[in-house]
């Protein structure tokens, strides 16, 4: 009856030992001190989406120079982030939020999530991206959601690459396109908005109907489309046209290559802008403002491409070589007023679902 007890007892005591030895997260938290000091002005709590990243040394530099301590939390993707901020307006998740994009900015502003703040460091090149006149949100970075093509496929099939949204309706591009669902993926929503901007509130459904008739494939997530269905990346799927980002080709360039195997169709892009804002009811609004100034500093703006794959809003910043070579932004992307998006987003997604999914 006690034959195997030593083995189990050893396992149990090992588990207890490692945790007591400080291997546990709770017992070994380097931030424990700061989380216990909530309410002290020194702490700035930053809420971001789950793609947020900045170089460690920049964060340390900010903390050294300002005497603020930064604490980050990332409760989901862009859409989930906004909805959580709205749900917690009476007791905000932090002092400052980063990562609300233009497809959700209108909703957040309408729900009173942010206190207006205009940073003295706002570069002139950022002004066209402001979400409202009050300055509720500060534009920090931008990027384009565009269709990408597998160049090899078009060479092999002696077929010209499409250039515009209209081109995709041509017979020769039938069964070649894979996009993501606007209800479940943010690039999908951006592309839907691009078509609304292109064909107007009365014409976009007709466009999608024709796309669907031409063999469009819809999947639920970017990773699914890009890594399974797209022929130009690792998945070796059977669709040479995929919905992705203007920057994606830069990631597909091999070490010594001079050409990217994929290319963004710059005539199909929707402009994404990511914002930061001071949360209404923040414990530390001054710290929140200081963090927004920090995001607009030249150092952080220059760090953004490497860390978050977005373009800085400050057009004076030098970009990585691979980006200037392989990932140019569209000259004239489709855009839309955040307030207009907020008025119609759910309705458009619903109509899109009825048209394309049925």
């Amino acid at each position: 009856m006690t034959r195997t007890s030593p083995a189990v007892a050893a396992m149990v005591s090992a588990a207890v030992a490692v945790s007591l030895a400080g291997c546990s997260l709770i017992g070994n938290s380097p931030d424990e001190g700061s989380t216990n000091e909530e309410g002290e002005p020194a702490l700035v709590r930053v809420v971001t989406h789950d793609s947020f990243a900045l170089s460690e040394d920049l964060i340390e530099e900010f903390e050294d120079e300002t005497d603020y301590t930064l604490e980050f939390s990332a409760p989901g993707d862009g859409g989930a982030l906004v909805n959580q901020l709205i749900l917690t307006t009476d007791s905000p998740l932090g002092d400052v939020a980063f990562g609300v994009d233009n497809s959700f900015a209108g909703r957040a502003i309408a729900e009173g999530v942010f206190d207006p703040y205009t940073s003295p460091d706002l570069p002139p090149s950022a002004e066209p991206y402001l979400a409202d006149d009050a300055g509720s949100l500060t534009p920090v970075d931008r990027g384009d959601v565009c269709l990408n093509v597998d160049r090899q496929y078009f060479t092999d099939h002696d077929l010209a690459e499409p250039e515009t949204l209209d081109d995709l309706l041509a017979e020769e591009y039938g069964d070649l396109v894979v996009v993501t669902n606007p209800a479940t993926s943010s690039p999908g929503l951006a592309f839907l908005l691009a078509t609304v901007a292109a064909y107007g509130e009365d014409g976009w459904q007709d466009y999608w109907q024709q796309l669907a008739d031409n063999g469009l494939k819809v999947v639920e997530s970017w990773s699914d489309a890009y890594s399974v269905d797209f022929s130009g990346s690792t998945g070796e799927g059977d669709r040479p046209i995929v919905l992705s980002y203007a920057t994606s080709p830069a990631f597909e360039v091999g070490e010594d290559e001079t050409e990217a195997p994929t290319e963004a169709l710059l005539g199909t892009c929707f402009q994404q802008v990511e914002y930061a804002g001071v949360l209404a009811g923040a414990d530390n609004p001054e710290g929140a403002q200081a963090f927004i100034d920090f995001l607009l500093s030249d150092e952080v703006q220059a760090d953004i491409p490497e860390q978050m794959y977005m373009y800085p809003v400050n057009d004076q910043i030098d970009l990585p070589q691979a980006w200037t070579d392989f990932a140019p932004l569209a000259d004239d992307p489709f855009t839309m007023d955040p307030a207009l998006i907020d008025d119609h987003r759910d309705e458009w997604i619903q109509q899109w679902t009825d048209t394309v999914i049925g």
Binding site: M1, T4, S5, A7, V8, A9, M11, V12, A15, V16, V18, S19, C23, S24, L25, I26, T35, E38, T48, D50, S51, F52, A53, E56, S73, A74, P75, G76, D77, N83, Q84, I86, L87, T88, L93, G94, N181, A183, T184, V218, E220, S221, S223, D224, S227, V228, S231, T234, G237, D238, S244, T247, S248, F251, G254, E306, Y309, D346, I349, I357
Partner: protein, 583 residues
């Protein structure tokens, strides 16, 4: 996930005889008080970290401007889509459960009643899918089934069948372990007697063995039903909104549309479905406890016989063939796809993606290296396991008692059900609930690192209970009575009678809790901190970034997660295997 099935018929008889035992009045009251205290701790834990947040979120959907607003109910039930989704949820759950049971029963027979080389390895392998990240499984399944994939000719991509297959992939192990654990302990002499009296093997199986297995099958089916009815990630990836379920609809209504009215109504619908499954579950277990007389020791398993006398097909051929196909095609093919794709590099085959796990990914996709994330996952798993095991054992100790009063028995059924509920409630509901319920005094836990282990412990707790409880229930109550009559205090009875059984069942419970914590993504992703992500969180992030290196690293990291899980489960299997005979 009930891996140890040791229920015995003596529970009831013991309960009756205990009421006749003299001199127990004082001890009985003390024991009742102890049970109430022991139940209060996990109940309070569940109430604070599960019930309160979920109720807070659901309540938001039913209150508008301070008044009760039931407009959402009409809105949701008035939409044709809702009924289609409820129908799809049931269809997928029923078919997934049927598939898992029909394929799992032969698997249980082959893997638990027959001996062959590599059996332990296969037993371990079948458990790995249970904790693989769904986003990765989705990519693996679609890589196989997409028109360009090796199984593309089947035309299954984006079909309902693909979803059902994936559900079977995830839940096969539940049936195999639950039914297998019981089957190896069935007294084989009953079936042998039937055979001696002239019954064919098929007839003996249908009339003798199957009815005996019935309760275990019903029990496994209920758990699988619960998992299938609330499956989320894999349904979304494989089926999209075309085959949405109540769970995916809650996710979309909450995270994309912030339509809490609809989400709350749907959450209540889901709770009703889950509660129904739980009732069926508890009925199934009750039946088993009444009806089964088990061998204390597992029947010594005989070697697999593929050929019978004179070279004719042996009795084991059919189950062995079914199991080989299931393990080979359904389980191994997606896992192999993962492994193969993780070994692909832009220049051919190699371990580059694995070497890169020490980096932060192509173009700094991550804030920490994958190994650091693995270390985070392990640390969190230690905490989550401790919480889950502590709470789960307390619950199991209370639920394993058999009070004489009807009220007491009823209370125990409710406690048992309450602990199971977290398995059936959407992670989105819990995650959003945490945010609105635990973010102001007196419980201000915003971004506290303690929330992740707590959330994972809530998910793991039901499995701990299901693992430990059967062992405790199998203890002959007369042992406790004898100890009490001889003057032992209730605490001493607990330590000397229950203690040794408990400690030995803990190995598997720890294994399950650890594995669940390692693989948990839904609730974790809500609470994760960017500077301290877990392994599933970095897998999710990597697979969401373009570039061969990031994609390859995501798959390599998923393989690491699978290997960790396999190791943990193999260890648990070993511990269980050694002492199984003594329960």
């Amino acid at each position: 996930m009930e891996a140890t099935v040791g229920g015995r018929a003596d529970g009831r008889a013991g309960g009756r005889s205990s009421s006749r035992a003299g001199g127990r009045a004082v001890g009985g009251r003390g024991r009742t008080a102890a049970a109430v205290v022991a139940a209060a701790v996990p109940l309070a834990f569940l109430a604070i970290f599960f019930g309160y947040p979920v109720a807070a979120l659901v309540a938001r959907g039913f209150v508008a401007d301070g008044a009760l607003d039931l407009g959402g109910v009409a809105e949701v039930f008035g939409a044709g889509r809702t009924w289609r989704i409820i129908g799809l949820t049931f269809a997928q759950a029923i078919l997934g459960t049927l598939g898992a049971v029909l394929l799992g029963v032969p698997g249980a027979y082959v893997l638990y009643c027959r001996r062959f080389p590599g059996r332990t390895l296969v037993r371990t392998l079948v458990t790995v899918p249970f904790v693989l990240p769904t986003v990765v499984v989705g990519v693996a399944f679609r890589s196989l089934l997409a028109t360009s994939g090796p199984l593309g000719f089947l035309g299954l991509d984006g079909t309902f069948t693909a979803i059902v297959l994936a559900l079977v992939f995830f839940n096969y192990a539940v049936v195999v372990r639950t039914v297998g654990g019981l089957w190896e302990r069935l007294d084989p002499r009953t079936a042998q007697a039937a055979r001696a009296l002239g019954a064919s093997p098929a007839r003996a199986f249908v009339t003798v063995t199957l009815p005996a297995l019935g309760p275990a099958i019903a029990s496994a089916a209920s758990v699988v039903f619960l998992f299938c009815a609330t499956a989320f990630g894999v349904v979304l990836v494989l089926g999209g909104l075309r085959f949405g379920t109540v769970e995916t609809e809650i996710w979309i209504q909450t995270t994309q549309f912030l339509n809490l009215r609809a989400a709350s109504v749907l959450s209540v619908v889901q709770l009703v479905v889950v509660a129904g499954a739980l009732v069926a579950f508890s009925r199934a277990r009750a039946t088993r406890e009444r009806a089964l007389a088990l061998h204390g020791n597992p029947a010594r398993s005989t070697p697999l016989q593929l050929t019978g006398r004179g070279g004719r097909p042996g009795g084991d051929l059919l189950p062995a063939a079914v199991t080989a196909v299931v393990v080979g095609v359904l389980l191994l093919a997606p896992m192999l796809t993962l492994v193969l794709r993780s070994l692909r590099t832009p220049t051919g085959w190699g371990l580059d993606n694995y070497w890169a796990l020490g980096s932060t990914g192509g173009d700094n996709a991550l804030t920490v290296t994958v190994w650091q994330a693995t270390a985070n996952s392990l640390r969190i798993a230690v905490d989550a396991t401790m919480i889950a095991v502590l709470m789960g054992v307390l619950v199991a100790l209370v639920v394993s008692r058999r009070p004489r009063s009807t009220a007491g028995r009823r209370a125990i059924v409710w406690l048992d059900g309450a602990v199971m509920l977290p398995l059936g409630v959407s992670a989105v509901t819990v995650g959003f609930g945490f945010l609105i319920a635990l973010n102001h005094p007196p419980l201000d836990l915003r971004s506290s690192p303690v929330l992740i282990p707590i959330a994972q412990a809530i998910v793991a707790m039901p499995l701990v209970v299901r693992t430990v409880l059967p062992v405790l229930r199998a203890i002959d109550p007369r042992q406790r009575q004898v100890a009490a009559v001889l003057g032992a205090t209730p605490l001493r009875v607990l330590l000397t009678v229950d203690g040794p059984y408990l400690v030995r069942s803990l190995g598997l419970a720890i294994g399950f809790a650890f594995a669940v914590s390692l693989g948990e993504f839904g609730a974790t992703s809500f609470l994760s901190r960017p500077d301290r992500p877990t392994l599933p969180v970095v897998v999710f992030r990597l697979i969401g970034q373009p570039g061969a290196l990031n994609q390859g690293m995501a798959l390599a990291a998923a393989v690491v997660l699978a290997l960790l899980t396999a190791t943990v489960m193999a260890l648990a299997e070993r511990l269980r295997g050694e002492h199984a005979g003594e329960i």
